[in-house]
């Protein structure tokens, strides 16, 4: 057996030695020897680049809800969208941009409708315990948007424009140029929608009435400038990301809408400066970010004029060192300082938290991988109980790609500043939330032929969230935040992907199913499934390309979601189907185009993700992209 592995190693390694890119050779050699997981014992996936490409100009919430097991609670296209990852709450999904936390410091969560997927090159989902590697608080998981340079002399201009049903228009531009030591990338996305769509209102009166959903206009602009400079073994990165979204918020179907009432304006400016230096076995890194975000909300009817401005400064620094080619140790010091000005707080607030993290990863031989992490957080002036994580992964049969993995994590989440300072009801004495997380799984991959390969993974997990912050009725006429919640979530996730790649036919199939049981363990609470967390979720996509032609079919199943604590009221389950048919011809030498026609909600399914907020029926979108390389 050992001789077979050695032969396989030589066969893989020898042809590669003749290639010019020595970095690639070393990566492949390492993979052939060691287990491939970045975080042994835990689960981290990248969203398929073909899928990401098809959602480039849409909203992040659509990408997540249709293609991942993350449940998105959305008020409709352009409306606020929050997540539930592994049965946890919206504030338990950590959203990062190049490793920097971009969850609102006031809300402690992200609105996924504000993010355009095309703004990043790579999207990774770190499930449960894997999220602690990137930072604290992601009990459900972490979603990271990554930008990375391509060190080549080739310049590229990418233009996209599209129009669709309900007055939707989108346009984008991406320009990349530079050489092997300097790269600049500019991205611009614009999105607007009237968003008036018909639906049948069966609940407002005695008769079923065909109505038009109005007052949900949306205008969105995103701009990202990236600059990278590489000299010797150091890389300097500077990024600036501006985003503005202006929208009307429609009310419930139960409310007679006389005109625009609720409006929201979100604006953010995020800047990032980082330096990475490789010296021998040591990688040093230092990065900082400044993020300013504004959220203004008005409701004429309720006489609300809410003005909120948050400035956050983040600093991360540390080093990683390799020990004997099989182990890595990393030390990270982080600090996050937020300044809040809000007419919902009774004074301006500044708040600081910092942490020290030591992590180690080891792949001792080709059978075993381990991860260990310990983190100490200083929340304001308070030293928290340290968090830790330990993962173990084992190759079941030598030379074959079948892995058993398991991990245990203790994770903490610092309260949001609204939980602490909202007036009235914020509670400055809140403790941090914490969770015990355990997971175990099996992962396998196999190449059946040169053209056909498949991967599959199944994971069981359980999360015990304690001291969860809940707003409860106080002694007077307002609610207060308290550490009273106890939630147990457990479930199973499975993923299968199959690739068949020949010339000219390529087929890629991805399918996923997740079962989630999430219940409150508070004595006074009902024992059923938590509201708005589906027990069953599944999605699948098939991408078939034949020469320049391609077809992309996405099916998403969302199970029943309870809308009352006693589980007597619920929203029914639904299947959604989206289909994209396109053509990607090479027009002339280095100019290529991509024209596609997208049909959303193919079978015109009537559904809601939030009770009494209808979602659109069948919709169409036509898109034209041109790529010019030089």
């Amino acid at each position: 057996m050992k001789i077979n592995i050695l032969c396989a190693f030589i066969l893989v390694a020898l042809p590669l030695q003749s290639q010019q890119d020595t970095v690639k050779i070393s990566e492949i050699i390492i993979r052939s020897k060691q287990i491939p997981s970045d975080i042994p014992g835990f689960k981290r996936i990248e969203i398929d680049s073909a899928i990401q490409d098809k959602y480039r100009h849409l909203s992040f919430s659509e990408l997540l809800s249709e293609c991942t097991p993350v449940f998105i609670k959305s008020y409709g296209y352009g409306g606020a969208a929050t997540s539930s990852f592994r049965g946890a709450g919206a504030s338990h999904t950590r959203m990062t941009w190049n490793g920097i936390n971009i969850n609102s410091p006031m809300l402690g969560q992200s609105d996924f409708s504000l993010i355009t997927p095309g703004i990043s090159d790579n999207i990774t989902l770190s499930y449960g315990g894997a999220s602690i590697i990137d930072g604290p608080g992601g009990f459900g998981g972490t979603i990271n948007l990554e930008n990375k340079p391509v060190w080549s002399k080739t310049s590229g201009l990418y233009l996209n424009t599209g129009a669709g049903s309900f007055g939707r228009y989108a346009g984008s531009l991406k320009f990349r140029t530079g050489n092997e030591s300097f790269q600049t990338v500019t991205r611009l996305y614009m999105n607007s929608s009237e968003n008036n769509f018909p639906y049948i209102n069966e609940v407002a009166g005695n008769d079923h009435v065909r109505e038009t959903r109005k007052n949900s206009q949306l205008t969105q602009i995103s701009f990202l400038q990236e600059l990278y400079y590489r000299k010797a073994s150091g890389v300097l990165s500077a990024l600036i990301w501006y985003n503005s979204t202006s929208r009307n918020l429609p009310g419930s179907m139960l409310v007679v809408q006389s005109g625009p009432d609720e409006k929201q304006y979100d604006e953010s400016l995020r800047s990032f400066l980082g330096y990475d230096l490789k010296k021998g076995n040591m990688n040093f890194f230092l990065n900082g970010a400044w993020m300013a975000s504004r959220l203004d909300y008005t409701s004429l009817k309720a006489s609300i004029d809410s003005r909120n401005l948050a400035n956050t400064f983040t600093l991360n620094g540390g080093f990683e060192t390799m020990i004997k080619n099989h182990s890595k140790i990393k030390l990270t010091i982080s600090d996050e300082l937020s300044f809040i000005k809000s007419n919902n707080y009774n004074k301006n607030i500044s708040y600081n938290s910092s942490s020290l993290t030591l992590s180690a990863r080891s792949k001792i031989n080709n059978r075993v991988g381990t991860t260990f992490l310990i983190r100490e957080i200083i929340d304001g002036q308070i030293l928290l109980i340290p968090d830790f994580s330990a993962g173990f992964e084992y190759r079941l049969f030598a030379g074959e790609e079948h892995f058993f993995k398991t991990g245990l994590t203790r994770n903490s989440r610092i309260p949001s500043l609204n939980d602490r300072y909202w007036y009235p009801g914020g509670n400055s004495n809140l403790k941090n939330e914490y969770a015990w997380q355990y997971e175990a799984g099996f992962k396998t991959s196999r190449s059946f032929t040169n053209s056909l390969s498949a991967d599959a993974e199944i994971t069981f997990y359980t999360n015990l969230i304690r001291d969860m912050i809940q707003w409860k009725p106080g002694e007077f006429a307002y609610w207060t935040a308290e550490n009273i919640g106890k939630v147990n979530s457990s479930g199973i996730e499975s993923i299968v992907s199959v690739k068949y790649e020949t010339d000219p036919l390529n087929i890629r199939l991805n399918a996923g199913y997740s079962y989630t049981k999430s219940v409150s363990r508070n004595q006074a609470d009902e024992p059923g499934q938590l509201m708005y967390i589906p027990e069953n979720q599944a999605n699948s996509s098939i991408h078939i390309s034949y020469g320049d032609l391609y077809l992309f079919w996405i099916t998403d199943f969302t199970g029943k979601r309870y809308i009352t604590a006693d589980n007597t009221g619920y929203l029914p389950d639904y299947f959604l189907n989206n289909i994209i048919i396109g053509l990607k011809p090479d027009l002339w030498k280095k100019i290529s185009a991509d024209i596609n026609f997208r049909t959303e909600n193919l079978f015109n399914k009537s559904y809601q993700t939030i009770a009494y907020h209808p979602q659109p029926g069948r919709a169409y979108f036509i898109s034209l992209s041109v790529r010019i390389l030089k």
Partner: protein
């Protein structure tokens, strides 16, 4: 072969979905609305549309939840707030749906829906076939024609309005949200004729057996003024009685009178009661809160039962608590979410246990 089985098993697990049936049907409505019972409006959560109608029958000692939706096969709406009986109809004011549902008082079937309202709160009879609807976010009171069941006009009072009572052809309308006035409208002419300055945020009102209009002012949520209980003379429009609560923290709510009109009840760290001629506010509650979150109360006009709702944590179903006139708990029943307005449909002479 073994690996193929592993793949097949994973694939089956991936594509299979467990279907779970929904909850069973709610009890059918079979002559449950008797002559002796209590209607309870469950407000539900603001914006969630999960308000509902409950009926407690004294005759069967049973509670029936979610009746409007069961009968009419659609939800009642967002924040049903108050109700009012007139003729064969029940009028349900649904605050955040900005409508009044008119239903038959026996079958509970929908008769019509009155729209054209802005954040309606309370409905009060202001004439033979006329009612006034107060509004939390508009500066006028809407007039409803009860024959046509339509909005027939409005009276501009330049402030928002909340509770309302009518006596001697005068409607007393309280300006609750950050207000401190009670407006007086002549119901024969629909004209604003006067106003009376009271304590901060007059929240609820009742008329006693001597015709005095009692106004409970909760002092405002910022707790910077003392709560007050004042009695207005409906003829002279002057304040005849004034009780000031002793602590800034006191935030009383939901003033009610018993059937005889000589005893007042309200919620403040429990349920308190006082004779209308008492010189001072009661020092101790008649019913302690005992971990209940009392949200609304009502007094059975026939047997004197003190009926309270407990909103629990505002997310789960609440509880209806029935106490006898001495404050001893007789029974409790699960309701819908945030049980609020209580309306008694009772006849004297019936045995009510």
């Amino acid at each position: 072969m073994n690996k193929s089985i592993i793949f097949l098993a994973l694939f089956i697990l991936t594509v299979s979905c467990d279907r779970i049936d929904g909850p069973g049907p709610v009890d059918p409505v079979v002559s449950l609305v008797s002559a002796n019972g209590i209607f309870i409006l469950n407000e539900g959560n603001f914006g969630w549309g999960n308000g509902s109608l409950t009926y407690y029958s004294y005759d069967s000692a049973r509670i029936y939840n979610n009746l409007f939706e069961t009968v009419n096969r659609r939800p009642l709406g967002d924040v049903p707030y108050s109700m009012f009986f007139h003729g064969n109809y029940i009028y349900i004011v649904v605050n955040n749906s900005e409508k009044i549902e008119v239903i038959n008082n026996k079958s509970l079937e929908s008769v019509t829906t009155i729209t054209g309202l802005i954040s309606p709160r309370n409905l009060v009879l202001a004439g033979q076939d006329k009612a006034y609807v107060t509004s939390m976010y508009s500066d006028s009171v809407r007039i409803i024609d009860l024959k046509k069941n339509k909005v027939s006009g409005y009276i501009n009072i330049h402030q928002t309005s909340e509770s309302a009572v009518v006596i001697n052809q005068k409607a007393f309308i309280a300006n609750w949200l950050e207000g401190n006035e009670v407006f007086i409208i002549d119901t024969t002419t629909d004209l604003l004729i006067d106003s009376v300055e009271v304590g901060k945020e007059p929240e609820s009102m009742v008329v006693d057996n001597k015709g005095l209009v009692w106004v409970l002012c909760n002092g405002g949520w910022k707790r910077d003024t003392f709560a007050e209980l004042v009695g207005i003379n409906p003829q002279s429009h002057v304040i005849a009685r004034r009780h000031v609560f002793p602590a800034l923290e006191s935030s009383p709510l939901c003033l009610q009178a018993d059937g005889d009109g000589d005893t007042l009840f309200y919620i403040e760290n429990g349920i308190r009661c006082m004779r209308t001629d008492a010189a001072e506010l009661p020092a101790d509650p008649l019913i302690g809160d005992d971990d209940h979150l009392f949200y609304k109360i009502g007094i059975n006009p026939v047997n004197g039962d003190i009926v309270a709702t407990d909103a629990a944590d505002y997310k789960q179903n609440g509880v209806l608590l029935i106490y006898n006139r001495r404050g001893n708990l007789k029974n409790s029943y699960a309701t819908g979410i945030i049980p609020g307005c209580l309306s008694f449909m009772v006849e004297s002479g019936h045995i009510m246990e």
